[in-house]
C-alpha cells in the first residue's frame, strides 16, 4: 500500500478546522475507490466499465450534535470548508443532543487485503473472455437469456480523528456470477451461480474468480433453468424445510443481521429500513432460536466483504458472538450506541464511501456450523422440501414477519431428494422460525457468500457484507405462499 502524505495533511486540516470551530470531536476520511465491471449477455458485452471516485468526508460532534459534510475536491481549502459546513449543520440541528461516544484508545496502523493476483492487473480482455465463455456455456434449448459478470474493487481510505486515531487501509474485492433465464409455455424461470443478485464476491484477489469455475458450472445452471420451466409448482403446507447454505445466508442477513443493528433498536432507522423487534433489555435474555443457533459477527474473517482492521470510527476489528446457543448475547454497535447501551465498544461502523456518514452495518455475520452433511440433514426428513438459491425476499420493518422465495427446490421423500419443484416460497416469524432449527451441517459444508446489495440510511448507502453458512433444517415451516 502506498501511503499518501498529502491525503493525511488534508484530513488533519479538516479535523483542525472543525475543532477550531468548536467541535468537541471530529473525524475526516479520505476514500479513493475504483471499480471495474464486465457483464455479458447472450454473447455480447453488455457493460465494460471502469469507475473511480474520491473525496473527503468530515464528521463533527458539536454541542452533542452530529454534522457531516463532504467534497469531491481534494484540496486543503475544500477540506476545511467541508469541516466548517459540517459544524454549521451541527449547530443548526434541532434536538436535545446528549450524545456520548464509548471511550477508545487512539488507534494507528495500516491494513491491506491479502491477495495473490491483483484484479486490476488482470487484463480487461481476460475478464471479457471469461464472461463470454461462461455465457456461451449456458446456451441450450429454452434458454432465453444468458448473463455473466465479473467485478473488482479497490478501496483505499485514511481516517484521522481529533482523538489521535490515524488508520489507513486498502481493501480489495473480486466477484463473479452467472445467470440464465428460461421460458416455455408462459412459464419463466431463472437460475444463478454461485448466488443470485449479481453473483458472489470475496475480499481477496482474482484467484477467487478463477476458483469459482463459472465455465464448468454453466451447463448445470442452464440445464436446471430449462428443467424448471417443466417442473411442478412447489406445494403449500406446513412441513420440514432444508435450506442450502446460500439461502441460509440470506435468512441470517435479513432476520438476524439487521435486527441486531443497535441503531435500528434505538429507532434511528425508523423512517426507512425500519426498527427491530429486539429491545436493549433483551441482551442476554432473549431466546432467539434453538440451541443449535450460534451467530458470530467477525470482521476478521479471511475473504469476508466486511473484513477490515479498523471500522470507519477507527475501532479495531474483533470477533464477537451475537447469538450463543439460541440466546441473544450481542448487538452490532457504533461508539455512540455502545455508550448508550453500556455494553460493547463499537466496531460495526461503515460508510459506503467518502460522501456518506458511517452507519451501524453488518460486517461478516455467520451461522456457525454444526455437524454432518446435507445428506445427513435430508436423511431425517420423511416429507419436506429442499430449497436452493435465493430468488425473492421481504421482511417487515421490525424484522419479524418474513417471506423468501428460492430459484429451485426438490421434494424430500423418505430422506431422499425427489422431483424438482419451481416457485418455492416459505414464510415465518423470526424467533419462531429460528426456534424450529434442528440441524446445521458441518464445517465441510460451510460456505462464505459475499453480497454487495445491502441498503440502509437516508441518503441511501449500499454495504458489502459476507455471511458464512451451511445447509440447515427447520421443522414446521409454512411453505408455498401464493397470492
Amino acid at each position: 500500500m502506498t501511503r499518501v502524505p498529502r491525503v493525511r495533511d488534508l484530513c488533519a486540516a479538516a479535523v483542525d478546522a472543525a475543532t477550531a470551530a468548536g467541535a468537541e470531536y471530529a473525524d475526516a476520511r479520505v476514500v479513493m475507490k475504483r471499480n471495474q465491471f464486465v457483464a455479458t449477455k447472450n454473447g455480447r458485452v453488455e457493460r465494460l466499465s471502469d469507475s473511480e471516485s474520491e473525496g473527503i468526508g468530515v464528521r463533527v460532534l458539536l454541542g452533542g450534535a452530529w454534522g457531516f459534510a463532504c467534497d469531491s475536491r481534494l484540496s486543503a481549502d475544500r477540506a476545511r470548508d467541508a469541516a466548517l459546513r459540517a459544524c454549521t449543520f451541527a449547530r443548526a440541528a434541532p434536538g436535545k443532543h446528549l450524545r456520548e461516544l464509548a471511550p477508545m484508545r487512539p488507534a494507528s496502523g495500516t491494513y491491506r487485503t491479502p491477495f495473490e493476483r491483483d484484479p486490476f492487473q488482470v487484463p480487461l480482455a481476460e475478464k471479457v473472455a471469461q464472461c463470454l465463455e461462461a455465457d456461451e456455456a449456458m446456451a441450450g434449448p429454452d434458454i432465453l437469456v444468458r448473463q455473466a459478470m465479473v467485478r473488482a474493487q479497490r478501496e483505499h481510505k485514511l481516517l484521522l480523528t481529533s482523538e489521535g486515531t490515524e488508520v489507513e487501509q486498502e481493501l480489495i474485492e473480486c466477484g463473479a456470477g452467472i445467470e440464465c433465464a428460461a421460458a416455455h409455455d408462459g412459464i419463466f424461470q431463472m437460475r444463478s451461480y454461485p448466488s443470485a443478485q449479481i453473483g458472489s464476491s470475496c475480499q481477496t484477489g482474482w484467484e477467487y474468480v478463477d476458483g469459482l469455475n463459472l465455465i464448468g458450472e454453466a451447463p448445470r445452471v442452464a440445464e436446471q433453468a430449462a428443467a424448471l420451466v417443466r417442473a411442478n409448482e412447489c406445494p403449500s403446507g406446513v412441513m420440514t424445510v432444508v435450506l442450502d447454505a446460500e439461502q441460509v445466508a440470506a435468512q441470517v442477513h435479513e432476520s438476524v443481521g439487521h435486527p441486531t443493528e443497535l441503531d435500528r433498536v434505538y429507532g434511528t432507522e425508523a423512517s426507512y429500513a425500519g426498527t427491530s423487534f429486539l429491545k436493549p433489555d433483551d441482551l442476554g435474555s432473549l431466546r432467539y432460536g434453538s440451541k443449535l443457533m450460534n451467530i458470530t459477527a467477525d470482521p476478521t474473517t479471511p475473504g469476508g466483504l466486511g473484513s477490515f482492521a479498523f471500522d470507519d470510527e477507527g475501532v479495531p476489528a474483533e470477533r464477537m458472538p451475537v447469538v450463543e446457543a439460541g440466546l441473544l448475547t450481542g448487538f452490532l454497535t457504533s461508539r455512540e450506541t455502545a455508550a448508550r447501551i453500556g455494553a460493547g465498544k463499537g466496531g460495526s461502523m461503515r460508510a459506503e464511501g467518502w460522501n456518506r456518514m458511517p452507519l451501524v452495518r453488518m460486517t461478516n455475520l455467520h451461522l456457525e456450523p454444526g455437524e454432518g452433511t446435507l445428506e445427513d440433514l435430508l436423511a431425517d426428513v420423511d416429507e419436506g422440501v429442499y430449497m436452493e438459491t435465493n430468488r425473492s425476499w421481504s421482511i417487515d420493518d421490525k424484522r419479524l414477519n418474513f417471506q423468501f422465495g428460492t430459484q429451485i427446490a426438490w421434494e424430500i421423500k423418505d430422506g431422499k431428494l425427489g422431483r424438482m419443484l419451481r416457485d418455492a416460497t416459505y414464510t415465518g416469524i423470526t424467533p419462531h422460525f429460528w426456534g424450529s432449527l434442528d440441524a446445521v451441517a458441518g464445517r465441510d459444508s460451510w460456505r462464505l457468500y459475499g453480497s454487495t446489495i445491502c441498503g440502509k440510511g437516508q441518503p441511501g448507502q449500499g454495504a458489502h457484507v459476507s455471511h458464512g453458512a451451511a445447509p440447515a433444517r427447520f421443522r414446521n415451516v409454512q411453505v408455498g405462499v401464493r397470492s
Binding site: E46, W66, A92, G95, L400, N401, Q403, S483
Partner: protein
C-alpha cells in the same frame, strides 16, 4: 464548472467517437429520529462518465476527478476498456443532436437552500409532530445533468428537488406522510408531520385479522410503491424482449380495469420534470396502459435497435452503471378517477382494508407480476363504508394485474410520491398516483403492531 463545462472538458480528452455525461450534485439532507437531527449530510460532487466507441468497440469509464489530469486518465481508462471489448455489431450508435423540450423543474429558491435552511425545515417538522416523536428528513438539492457527444449532441438541465418525509411513532402507533416537489416552498414539512402524527394517533390498539382476500383502499404512498416495483420488470422494453415482463405477448390486450390508465410523462410540471435521458435523447410521454389496455413500454437506443420494426428510443436510458437493467420509467403517472376523497373510496369498498404505506417489497414472480411486502404506518379496517379500527401490519402477496383488474375507483387528485431513496448520484424521480380502491388485496400473514 457547470455540468456542460465538465462534459465538454471530458469529451475534449477523448480520441474518436465519444459521449460524456456529467452529473453534479449539491445537496443537504437533515435526517431526524426521536425528534432530533442525528444524521445531517451535505454532499458536493461532480461525476463524469465517458463512453468511447472505437470500431464498434465500446468502453466506459467514470470519475469525479475533473481536473485536467483526472480527465486525461479517464480518457485512457475508457480507451483501454474499448480496446478490450469485442466489436458490438448491434450498437445503434451515439444519439444524434437533439433539441430537448423546455421543461420546468428548476427553482432558484430551492437551489439556494443551505444547511441552516435544511435544518430549519427539519425543525418545522419536528415541532409539528407534537407529542408523537418523529423520524424522517427534510432534504433539498440542486443537481445538473449534461450529455455531450461527438455527434454534435449537447444538452443540459438544472434540476431542483425537495422532500419532507415523516414517520410519527411511539411504542403504540405509527403514521406516515411525505411531500416532494421541485419547488421547496411547495413542500410543507409541518403539514407532513401533522398528517403523520394524526395517523399515528389513530393506529393505537391495532387488531389482527385473518389472512384472506380483502377489498382495499391504498393511499397514493402505497399505490405508488406497488406500481414502481411492478414497473421495473413490466414497463421497460428489456423486460418484454427478455420475456420477464407481464406485458410480454400482451401489448394491445386488455389487461386491467378500464378505469386504469398509466403513462410515463417526465415533461409533466406537476412531477419532477426531465428533458432528456442519460443518452441525451429527449423525453417523450409514453402511454403504458390506456383504459385497461396495454399500449406500450419505454425504450432506450439499445433496446429499440434490438427490437427493430420501427422501435425508437422514448428517452428512457438509465445511467451507464444501470444500463444492463434496460430502459426504466422514471415519471409514472396514473390518471385520476372521480372520487373526491379517500372516504368516498372507503364507501365503495364497504367492508375491507385501508392501507397507508407499504414496506420492503420483493418481486416473487416477475412474469406474473407477483409482489410481496408488508403494510406499515397506518393500516385500518373499513367497515360499513367507513375507515374503522386500526390493524397490525399485514403481509400481502399480490398479483398486481389481479389488483388492477377489479377497481372500484380512484381519487380525482394524484399526489407526487418520491421514489428515490437517494442511493448513488442524486436523480430525483417519483410517481404521480391517486388513491385507489380495488376488490382484491390478498393478505397472506399478519405482523406486529404499528409503532417503534
Amino acid at each position: 464548472m457547470n455540468a456542460l463545462d465538465v462534459a465538454r472538458a471530458a469529451l475534449d480528452t477523448a480520441v474518436g467517437e465519444a459521449e460524456a455525461v456529467a452529473h453534479i450534485e449539491h445537496s443537504g439532507l437533515a435526517r431526524f429520529a426521536g425528534s432530533e437531527v442525528h444524521q445531517p449530510t451535505l454532499i458536493e460532487n461532480a461525476m463524469v462518465t465517458l463512453r468511447v466507441v472505437h470500431d464498434k468497440r465500446l468502453g466506459v469509464a467514470t470519475t469525479n476527478k475533473i481536473d485536467a489530469a483526472g480527465l486525461s486518465e479517464l480518457a485512457r481508462r475508457a480507451a483501454d476498456a474499448a480496446a478490450s471489448a469485442p466489436p458490438d455489431e448491434s450498437f445503434p450508435g451515439l444519439a444524434p443532436p437533439a433539441s430537448p423540450p423546455a421543461v420546468e423543474g428548476f427553482d432558484d429558491g430551492t437551489a439556494a437552500l443551505g444547511p441552516d435552511d435544511q435544518a430549519r425545515l427539519a425543525a418545522a417538522a419536528i415541532d409539528a409532530g407534537g407529542d408523537v416523536p418523529v423520524y424522517g428528513f427534510f432534504t433539498s438539492a440542486l443537481s445538473e445533468l449534461a450529455v455531450m457527444s461527438t455527434t454534435g449532441l449537447s444538452v443540459h438541465q438544472r434540476m431542483t428537488d425537495a422532500t419532507a418525509l415523516v414517520v410519527a411513532a411511539d411504542e403504540n402507533g405509527s403514521g406516515y406522510a411525505e411531500q416532494t416537489a421541485w419547488r421547496a416552498n411547495s413542500v410543507d414539512p409541518a403539514g407532513v408531520a401533522r398528517e403523520a402524527a394524526e395517523k399515528a394517533q389513530r393506529t393505537r390498539g391495532a387488531a389482527e385479522i385473518e389472512p384472506g382476500v380483502y377489498p382495499a383502499v391504498l393511499e397514493p404512498y402505497a399505490f405508488a410503491d406497488l406500481l414502481d416495483y411492478f414497473s421495473h420488470d413490466s414497463f421497460g422494453a428489456l423486460g418484454v424482449l427478455d420475456k420477464r415482463s407481464y406485458f410480454t405477448d400482451r401489448l394491445g390486450q386488455k389487461v386491467f380495469d378500464e378505469k386504469i390508465s398509466i403513462s410515463d410523462d417526465a415533461l409533466d410540471p406537476r412531477g419532477l420534470p426531465k428533458a432528456f435521458d442519460f443518452e441525451g435523447t429527449p423525453k417523450r410521454p409514453v402511454q403504458l396502459v390506456e383504459e385497461g389496455v396495454a399500449r406500450g413500454v419505454v425504450w432506450d437506443r439499445a433496446t429499440a435497435a434490438r427490437a427493430g420494426d420501427g422501435a425508437e428510443s422514448t428517452g428512457h436510458a438509465p445511467p451507464a452503471e444501470l444500463r444492463d437493467w434496460g430502459p426504466l420509467p422514471s415519471a409514472l403517472s396514473v390518471l385520476p378517477g372521480d372520487a373526491e376523497t379517500v372516504d368516498e373510496l372507503a364507501e365503495l369498498v364497504g367492508d375491507g382494508l385501508y392501507i397507508t404505506r407499504l414496506h420492503y417489497l420483493g418481486v416473487v414472480h416477475p412474469r406474473e407480476g407477483i409482489i410481496t411486502g408488508m403494510t406499515r404506518d397506518g393500516t385500518f379496517r373499513i367497515r360499513d363504508g367507513k375507515v374503522a379500527e386500526p390493524l397490525v401490519n399485514l403481509r400481502f402477496t399480490i398479483a398486481v394485474p389481479d389488483f388492477l383488474c377489479d377497481v372500484f375507483g380512484l381519487t380525482n387528485k394524484a399526489a407526487l410520491v418520491n421514489s428515490q431513496n437517494f442511493y448513488g448520484e442524486r436523480y430525483p424521480y417519483g410517481v404521480m398516483a391517486p388513491a385507489i380502491a380495488s376488490e382484491r388485496f390478498p393478505v397472506t400473514g399478519v405482523g406486529s403492531k404499528p409503532g417503534i
